[in-house]
């Protein structure tokens, strides 16, 4: 029995939460140091950027899982025929939103990594510090792009966590799935506040 597709879909669901979702949460929380001032943010980002074996942490916790999730996700998004106009139920609208935010996030994250981590890697910047983000976000268009990007990411994570719970058979009944909806809504709101507060601290 060829169950490659089944395993790939399960892996896609798992990697979205562990490690990508955990990394996003951690990333937004560390960014939140910016609300305590430039020194606090630089200290935190310096600590993160100089963890032991950081390149391996980045490769195995971020780059590989994220790239698998992104590229397989694009394939998944393009194999759906969206019909929220005719079937405008909440879950169907979230289903469409999950795919649109996913496609947008591929673009946003590629740009974000290029502007920050990649510039450090090729030696154009010494470190991804407060100044770097302050420069980027001084452009109001970039600030808007980042606010939309962070919101898309927190939505994609929260809604993805809801479907992770279904995909792995954790929430089965209608009631458990409804309660998971409330919980993931809370996750979305909390992470979005944390993320946007951090962004506004650079302005």
């Amino acid at each position: 029995m060829d169950n490659r597709e089944f395993l790939m879909r399960r892996l896609h669901s798992l990697l979205g939460i562990i490690p990508v979702g955990l990394f996003l949460t951690q990333h937004l929380i560390v960014n939140h140091f910016a609300t305590q001032g430039e020194a606090a943010f630089n200290k935190a980002s310096h600590f993160m950027a100089n963890l032991p074996f950081v390149i391996f942490l980045e490769i195995f916790v971020i780059y590989l899982p994220l790239m698998y999730h992104a590229f397989y996700g694009v394939y998944i998004a393009f194999t759906s025929k969206h019909n929220p106009g005719k079937y405008s139920y909440m879950r169907n609208i979230l289903f469409v939103a999950q795919r649109f935010t996913g496609i947008f996030l591929v673009v946003f994250i590629a740009w974000h990594v290029f502007e920050t981590r990649f510039q450090v890697a090729i030696g154009n910047a010494a470190e991804a510090d407060f100044n770097m983000m302050e420069n980027i976000l001084s452009n109001p268009l970039m600030l808007a792009f980042y606010i939309v990007g962070v919101t898309a990411a927190t939505f994609h994570l929260a809604n993805g966590f809801w479907s992770f719970l279904v995909t792995w058979g954790i929430t089965q009944s209608e009631k458990s799935q409804r309660m998971a909806s409330y919980f993931t809504l809370l996750v979305f709101v909390v992470l979005t506040i944390i993320g946007i507060r951090a962004l506004l601290a650079f302005v």
């Binding site: 029995m1 169950n3 790939m8 399960r10 019909n83 079937y87 169907n92 289903f95 209608e174």
Partner: protein, 256 residues
């Protein structure tokens, strides 16, 4: 005479055969109390003249039981897939737009070929095997409360509405859709059927199986029989999670 006679307007997507271009035709017919879409289609068949007075071929459609248990008369009515026998004209906005369920190959006009659903039922082994060389006798008894629950799943009439509503059932994907998946849960719940539950679980872990569900949950919203399709899918997700590990680590407990 008093008020003008009340009429009903239908807009029907037609085509002469599978590969031909579709076209719309409008029909205006006299209103009758309690008329449904099928009685309107019968009226059009009796007098196939369009709204602008052109004589046309009678519109073809599928029907059988006329009481929403066979599933044959499913079509897209005002954008949503449902049975035309229980679609009452009084409850529909006019003009009433009828279209075939294009997720399936359209045979002619409103008739579609739902064979893929029956093929999927074969693929997932949606039956209870009892054939053998000798009489196996009665199987284990099913608890009454479980029987009542399983009866709800057995109401599936393979009408195809859930496949039409599902965004992941389309020509870019080979997803078998919600209906056959729920039948796996029904057959696995049966005391004799559960003796081969791993075969069905492995079947839905194959290409186009359970993994292709994207949780849009249109199926459960659309199912005319109110079958808890998304609960079935989530329950099968749990069963296949366990089955996946059993397969990988070579468990000797293939059947509980």
């Amino acid at each position: 005479m008093g008020e003008a006679a009340k009429t009903v307007i239908f807009e029907i997507e037609r085509r002469n055969s599978t590969d031909e271009e579709p076209y719309f035709e409008k029909f205006e017919l006299p209103y009758r109390l309690n008329m449904n879409v099928i009685s309107a289609l019968m009226e059009i068949r009796r007098n196939p003249v369009t709204m602008d007075g052109k004589k046309t071929t009678p519109v073809t459609w599928d029907m059988n039981c006329l009481e929403e248990v066979c599933g044959a008369c499913s079509m897209v009515i005002n954008g949503k897939a449902r049975q035309s026998c229980t679609a009452l004209v009084d409850q529909l906005e006019q003009p009433i737009r009828l279209q075939p369920m294009k997720t399936f190959p359209v045979v002619r006009d409103l008739i579609v070929d739902r064979s893929r659903m029956f093929d999927s039922l074969k693929k997932v082994k949606a039956w209870v095997p009892i054939d053998g060389t000798h009489d196996l006798g009665d199987g284990p008894r099913m608890p009454e409360r479980k029987r009542q629950w399983a009866y709800e799943l057995s109401k599936c009439m393979t009408c195809g509405v859930c496949l039409e509503a599902c965004p992941n059932v389309n020509d870019k994907s080979d997803f078998i859709g919600p209906a056959p998946l729920s039948q796996v849960r029904l057959m696995n719940a049966h005391p004799t059927g559960s003796m081969t539950r791993d075969e069905r679980l492995n079947a839905i872990m194959g290409e186009g199986g359970l993994g292709s569900c994207g949780n849009s949950q249109n199926c459960v919203e659309s199912c005319p029989k109110g079958i808890p399709l998304t609960t079935s899918i989530a329950a099968l997700n749990r069963d296949t999670t366990v089955q996946m590990f059993r397969n990988f680590f070579g468990s000797d407990r293939m059947v509980d």
